[in-house]
Every structure is written in structure tokens, then in C-alpha cells.
């Protein structure tokens, strides 16, 4: 069996769906961050396999940008989570319900 780019794309689609589902059903903010990372890595896999299939460098170059932005976002997200935890001692998004209406 030959593993073509389509297989990688399919895997990426599955990873993306798992990540999206995780965001919807999990309530721990830390796990939600991890799900977003899973979605971003699905994006990277799609970019790389498409870039390889097309024979251009654009895909690989894009991945670097995505990686850097993802890393920066994790830093910001963890900082926010730490300040939430200091005030509340919880990481569950359901318990954050002061603002509504």
C-alpha cells in the first residue's frame, strides 16, 4: 500500500475534528488549550503534505509562522490561566460565570 498525501490530509482532518470536538465537550481550560494545539497541528500537517505534493516551499514556510504564533499564543493563554487560578483556584470554564446576559 502506498501512503499518498491524501492519507496525511485525511489524518489531519481527523485530528482537527478531534480537537474541535474536545473544545466543545471538555470544560477544563487547560485541556481546551491542548485541543486548540491539536487543531493547529492538523493545520501544519495539511500545509506540509500539500506543500510536498505541490513541490513548493510555501507550505513548509507557512508552518514556521503557524508554529511561532501557536507558541506565542500558548504563553499568553497560560499567563491568563495563572491569573484566573490565583483569583479562583479553578480551571473550569463553567465556574467562570460572572459575566452574562
Amino acid at each position: 500500500m502506498i501512503v499518498t498525501a491524501g492519507w496525511y490530509m485525511g489524518l489531519a482532518a481527523i485530528l482537527f475534528a478531534i480537537g474541535a470536538l474536545g473544545i466543545l465537550i471538555r470544560r477544563n481550560a487547560l485541556v481546551m488549550f491542548m485541543c486548540v494545539e491539536l487543531m493547529l497541528n492538523a493545520v501544519n500537517l495539511t500545509l506540509i503534505s500539500a506543500g510536498r505534493e505541490l513541490g513548493t516551499l510555501d507550505g513548509q514556510v507557512s508552518v514556521f509562522f503557524v508554529l511561532v504564533v501557536a507558541a506565542a499564543e500558548v504563553v499568553v493563554g497560560l499567563a491568563i490561566l495563572v491569573s484566573v487560578f490565583r483569583n479562583r483556584a479553578t480551571a473550569s470554564v463553567d465556574e467562570l460565570a460572572e459575566l452574562s446576559g
Binding site: 482537527f16 493545520v43 495539511t46 506565542a72 499568553v76 491568563i80 470554564v93 460572572e98 459575566l99 446576559g101
Partner: protein
């Protein structure tokens, strides 16, 4: 491949980037009581960024770099003016507000300037990677700014909600981009547009376009992707909420229009109905939710959702009817310019009024007009302008919107125009409710007893600038029309 760098074209970004670094360094050497110098530097830097833009506008022409990935045409310049002027006003209204909070003043300006730089980059992007970097640089610092009062549980919650939905939207947007790249084999908008006609029957293409729309709609907080907006606006510091409602919303919005217009005109039958639905839902849900808000920041949050719907109307209508998109583009830009001015004015009023009354609830604002007539008049001015009452600027925005819809023609656009008309009436009701509280309701003893403190000069300046421009555009709309006409250049020179 050419890598010649046109420094004049990049000058606005370079000035702002230089200001960012200088602000960070200056902050290190200042004692706490002197921190306002960072604010002075930031304000000067942002105003300095306008100089090369005005020069390039006077000179005319289109400058293109990096194989057309970074284009400075009149459309980009107009947007840069909008982003810089609204950033300037937000900086001004932040000064006294952040000083009163007493912590991290230097970093505040650093983050706000970074976000402004992101929106400048975004307006010139004609390539998926540059667009993505610009958008992320715009929203990334805002996650932190929304949670600026980090001892306050509301502010924490605001930034966490904003962050989770923000990164989720980024992931969705990127997945759409990666599929689009995989199908068309390019990240450049012109090349994508050229490849589209051969791929129209591909189902994955429609999927990728929908992913892109969902991602952008989150950033622009269009219904049904708006849930984070009211909570974040309420919990964030008020100047940050003002920035979110104008700059960051406009950035998401404009990014969507640039991509649809320059990269995806070939499959407008996929995105045109989606935009139509987004526009109709944003107007209706935004306005209906605004009706039952007691907090004035939440009211402005829902009102800005509804205004984004109005802004989307000309473009959605023209795309559905298949008529001239350039015309619709200029109508949208005119609306955006006017909305930015009057909405920032309204937020400055909220900051001043919250200081005067000590509350953000509309009921507590009862009789503010007796206590402070000037502030009462300004409240009436900006809220009437948002409602679209002549001779204030808001009427012209609405006029341009309806004119372009009628020009587009067709049944579905007329339905959209009817929805917009009904919504204008609903919107008037809740804007008028604020004015009624301020002028007709009897003030409480508590409010009359509060000491009348002097406002900071910077907030007065913010109010004066936005008031002056709101009245000037309302009486002499040709000024705004110029912005609209110039922004059409994306149709010919740019792209």
C-alpha cells in the same frame, strides 16, 4: 523573486515599530510618577505614522513588494489612516484611565501599539501568510489587555473567554487557509484567484471558504459567532473595549473583505449567501439583545455587533446580486470610517460618565444632564449619531449603505434592505433610552451629592476630536466620500 524594500511604503509600520521599541526602553528608565511619558511617546509615534501615509496619498500610485504579497495602494492607505486615527483616540482615552489603575502603564502602551502595528500590516497584506501574521499581531496583545486588571475576577473571565474563542477562530481560519493552499497551490491572492475557475466543482474548496468565513466572523464578532464580545467588553478596561469594538473588529472585518474580494471572487456563489445571512443575523440579534441591556458597555457591545451587520450589508447585497463590488467596497469603507469616529466618541463618553456617576448601569446615569450638561450633550450627540439622525455623521453612513443596496437591485437585496430598515428603527429605541435617562429622568440624591471632579485633558481631547469630526462629516459628507472613492483603488491598481 525580488526583495527590494521600498522604505517609504513601509514607513508607517517602521515608525510604529520604532515607537514600540522606544516605549519599551523608555519604560525601564522612568519612575512610577513619570510613566505618562510613555503615553506621550506612543501618542506622538502613532501621529507620526500618519505623515508618510499622507505623503503617499498625495503622491498617488501603488507600491508593491515581495512579489505582490505586500501592497500599499490607496485602499491600504485609507485603512491605515482609519487604524492609526482610531488607535490614536484609544491611546488618548487610555491615559487617565490606566494611570488611575496604577499598574503596568508602560507595558499597556507597548501591547496597544503592537496591536495597532498588526492592523497596519494586515491592511497591506495580499497573501495568506502576511494576512495571518497581521491578524494575529492585532488580536494577540488584546488577550492580555482584556485581562489587564488581573486582580479583578471579571477581567480574568473576560480575557479567558476572549482567548479561548480567539485561538479557536485562529485554528479554524488556518485550517481553511491550509485547504485553500492545498487546492490552489499558492498563498498569494492573485494566484489563488487565477486558480479558482478550474476548481469550482471541488467540494473541498467550498468547505475551505466556509472555514475562512467562520474564522473571520469570530474576529469581527458577527452573529452567530459573537458570544465572547459582550462579556469581554464588559470585563475588559473600557478603553480596551473601545479598541476591540473598533480596531480589532474592523481588522477581522476588512481581512474578510480583502480575501473575498481579491482571492475568491470566482466562487462568490458560496460566500455571498453566507455573508447575507451573517449581515441579517448580526443586525437583528445584535439589536434585539441590545434592547434588554442595563449596562451601558454591554449595550454598546451589542450595538457594535449590529453596526457590523450594517457594515456588511452593501458588500453582501452586491455579491448576492452579482453587481459592482467596488461600489459596495467604498460604501463599506465610508461606513467603517464614520462608525469608528462615533463609536470611539461614545466609549469616551462612557469613560467620562462612569467617572462622574461611579457606575456603568444606565439607571444610575439618570439625570446626568443636570449634573453635567456638557457630558449630557455629548452623550446625546454620539448616541444620536449611532442611531443615524441628521445632521450627525451616522446618517450619512446609513444613507450610503441604503444607496448602494438599491443600486445593487434584485429581490434578495431588497429583503436585506428591509431588514436593515427595521433594525435602524429598533436601534433608535435603545439609543434613545440612554438619552432619556440622561436628560429626562430625575437624578438621584447620591449623584447630585457626588463631587464634580475635573476631567483629564486627554479625555477632553478625545471627545473634542471625535465630536468635531462627527459633526463635520454629518454636515459636509464629501470628506467621507473621498475616503470611499479612494478605497476603490484596490479594484484596479492593487490586488
Amino acid at each position: 523573486m525580488t526583495f527590494e524594500i521600498d522604505y517609504l511604503a513601509l514607513a508607517p509600520e517602521l515608525v510604529v515599530a520604532g515607537t514600540i521599541i522606544a516605549a519599551l526602553l523608555l519604560d525601564l528608565f522612568l519612575t512610577r510618577s513619570k510613566k505618562y511619558w510613555v503615553a506621550v511617546l506612543s501618542v506622538v509615534g502613532v501621529a507620526g505614522g500618519l505623515v508618510p501615509i499622507v505623503y503617499m496619498l498625495a503622491e498617488g500610485g501603488t507600491r508593491s513588494m515581495f512579489d505582490g504579497s505586500y501592497v500599499v495602494d490607496e485602499f491600504a492607505l485609507i485603512l491605515k489612516i482609519v487604524f492609526l486615527v482610531s488607535g490614536y483616540l484609544v491611546l488618548l482615552m487610555s491615559v487617565s484611565y490606566i494611570e488611575a489603575d496604577r499598574y503596568y502603564q508602560g507595558e499597556y502602551y507597548f501591547l496597544l501599539l503592537s496591536s495597532i502595528l498588526g492592523s497596519l500590516v494586515m491592511s497591506s497584506s495580499r497573501d495568506l501568510i502576511v494576512l495571518f501574521i497581521g491578524l494575529e499581531l492585532t488580536t494577540g496583545p488584546l488577550f492580555l489587555l482584556a485581562g489587564w486588571r488581573k486582580g479583578d475576577a471579571k477581567s480574568n473571565e473576560a480575557s479567558l473567554k476572549f482567548f479561548i474563542l480567539g485561538v479557536l477562530s485562529t485554528a479554524i481560519l488556518l485550517y481553511g487557509m491550509s485547504l485553500l493552499f492545498g487546492l490552489t497551490g499558492s498563498v498569494e491572492f492573485t494566484a489563488i484567484a487565477a486558480a479558482i475557475p478550474d476548481l469550482v466543482s471541488e467540494p473541498a474548496l467550498a468547505l475551505s471558504v466556509l472555514f475562512l468565513i467562520v474564522g473571520f466572523a469570530f474576529k469581527a464578532s458577527a452573529v452567530p459567532f459573537h458570544f465572547w464580545a459582550p462579556d469581554t467588553y464588559e470585563g475588559a478596561p473600557t478603553p480596551v473595549a473601545a479598541y476591540l469594538s473598533v480596531n480589532s473588529k474592523a481588522a477581522g472585518f476588512v481581512a474578510m473583505l480583502i480575501v473575498m474580494y481579491t482571492a475568491l471572487p470566482g466562487i462568490s456563489e458560496v460566500w455571498a449567501p453566507a455573508l447575507w445571512v451573517l449581515a441579517a443575523l448580526s443586525m437583528t440579534v445584535g439589536n434585539l439583545s441590545a434592547l434588554r441591556q442595563g449596562n451601558i458597555v454591554r449595550l454598546l457591545a451589542y450595538s457594535s455587533i449590529a453596526q457590523a451587520g450594517f457594515m456588511l450589508v452593501p458588500f453582501a447585497a452586491a455579491a448576492v446580486a452579482g453587481s459592482d463590488l467596488a461600489q459596495a467596497f467604498s460604501a463599506t469603507v465610508v461606513y467603517l470610517v464614520i462608525y469608528a469616529l462615533m463609536n470611539l466618541g461614545a466609549f469616551a463618553v462612557v469613560i467620562a460618565g462612569a467617572r462622574r456617576t461611579g457606575s456603568g448601569d444606565i439607571d444610575d446615569w439618570a439625570g446626568l444632564g443636570q449634573k453635567d450638561p456638557v457630558l449630557g450633550l455629548l452623550t446625546a450627540l454620539f448616541f444620536l449619531s449611532l442611531a443615524g439622525i441628521p445632521p450627525l455623521a451616522g446618517w450619512y453612513a446609513k444613507f450610503v449603505m441604503f444607496a448602494s443596496v438599491i443600486e445593487a437591485g434584485g429581490i434578495s437585496t431588497l429583503v436585506l434592505a428591509a431588514i436593515a430598515a427595521v433594525n435602524s428603527v429598533i436601534a433608535f429605541y435603545y439609543y434613545a433610552r440612554v438619552i432619556k435617562a440622561v436628560w429626562l429622568d430625575t437624578p438621584s440624591e447620591e449623584l447630585l451629592a457626588r463631587p464634580g471632579r475635573e476631567y483629564a485633558g486627554s479625555i477632553k481631547l478625545t471627545l473634542a476630536i471625535s465630536m468635531g469630526l462627527t459633526i463635520a462629516i454629518g454636515i459636509y459628507p464629501t470628506f467621507a466620500t473621498y475616503f470611499g472613492e479612494a478605497s476603490r483603488v484596490i479594484a484596479t491598481g492593487g490586488g
